[in-house]
C-alpha cells in the first residue's frame, strides 16, 4: 500500500461525482482506461489478433497457487470479469470524452474505482515505478475520500 499524494479536486455535487482534472491528467486516465478495455478483449476468441497478443491474457493476479485450480478458476470467472470491466472502461471513457470537469454518477463510482484499480495492474506490469499507476492510485484515493470521508483515517495502527 502507498502514501502517494497528488493535487486533485474531486467533489460530490448532488448525485454526481465531479472530477476537476487537468487536460493532461484526463488524457492519462483515458489512455489507461483504453488500454484496459483493449486488454479485456478475449484475444483467444479473436483470430484477427496477432498470436502473441492472443496468448497474453493474464491481467489479473492468480487467485490460486495451484496452476490446475487457477486454470479452472479462469474458465469459470474470467469471461464475466473481463466483460464487466470492459463495459465499465467504456463508460468511463465516455465520461472522460464528454469534457471537463469530468462528471460521473456517484452511484456508479465503482466503475471508476474498478477501472483505475485494474488499469493500474497493466501499468505496474510495465514498470514497478510507473507514474501512471501512482496517479491512478491517487485518483482512486480521492474518490473514496469524497464518498466516504469516515475512512480518511484508515491506515496502519
Amino acid at each position: 500500500m502507498t502514501g502517494t499524494e497528488f493535487e486533485e479536486h474531486v467533489a460530490l455535487e448532488g448525485e454526481w461525482l465531479v472530477l476537476a482534472l487537468s487536460k493532461h491528467n484526463v488524457a492519462m486516465i483515458r489512455r489507461a482506461a483504453g488500454d484496459l478495455a483493449a486488454s479485456m478483449e478475449d484475444k483467444r476468441a479473436n483470430l484477427a489478433w496477432p498470436r502473441a497478443w492472443r496468448g497474453h491474457t493474464s491481467v489479473f493476479p492468480a487467485a490460486y497457487e495451484s496452476r490446475r485450480e487457477q486454470s479452472a478458476y479462469r474458465d469459470r470467472h474470467d469471461a464475466d470479469l473481463r466483460a464487466d470491466l470492459m463495459a465499465a472502461a467504456h463508460r468511463v471513457i465516455a465520461a472522460l470524452d464528454a469534457g471537463r470537469p469530468v462528471r460521473y454518477p456517484a452511484a456508479a463510482a465503482d466503475d471508476l474505482l474498478r477501472v483505475l484499480g485494474v488499469a493500474r495492474l497493466l501499468s505496474t506490469r510495465r514498470s514497478s515505478a510507473d507514474v501512471t499507476a501512482d496517479y491512478l492510485t491517487a485518483v482512486q484515493h480521492d474518490i473514496v475520500v469524497t464518498l466516504r470521508p469516515e475512512l480518511t483515517e484508515v491506515g496502519p495502527a
Binding site: T2, D80, G117, T137, T152, P156
Partner: protein, 79 residues
C-alpha cells in the same frame, strides 16, 4: 464447515482506505472488521478476509476483489 479462505495480500499500490472500502462494501465485511483487516494487510502483508463453505462462495469473493485490482488468493482452510 469452512473449507476455503480468501486471503488478501498487500499489493503495494492500493491505498489503505480504498482497501477498507472494498472489503466493507464489496466483500460485505462490517466496517470495523474491514478497517482492522486492512491494517493487518498493511503490517503483516496478508490477512484472511473471507471464509467460505464452498469453492464457489470463495471464488465469488475473490472475483469481486480482483475486479477492483486487489490481490486475493484462495486457500484450503486446513487445520
Amino acid at each position: 464447515m469452512t473449507v476455503f479462505r480468501v486471503v488478501a495480500y498487500n499489493d503495494l499500490h492500493s491505498e489503505d482506505m480504498v482497501v477498507a472500502d472494498i472489503l466493507n462494501r464489496v466483500c460485505g465485511l462490517p466496517l470495523t472488521d474491514a478497517v482492522s483487516l486492512t491494517r493487518q494487510i498493511a503490517v503483516a502483508g496478508r490477512a484472511t478476509v473471507g471464509l467460505a463453505a464452498t469453492r464457489d462462495d470463495a471464488e465469488v469473493i475473490a472475483a469481486r476483489m480482483l475486479g477492483f485490482g486487489l490481490r486475493p488468493v484462495i486457500e484450503r482452510n486446513t487445520p
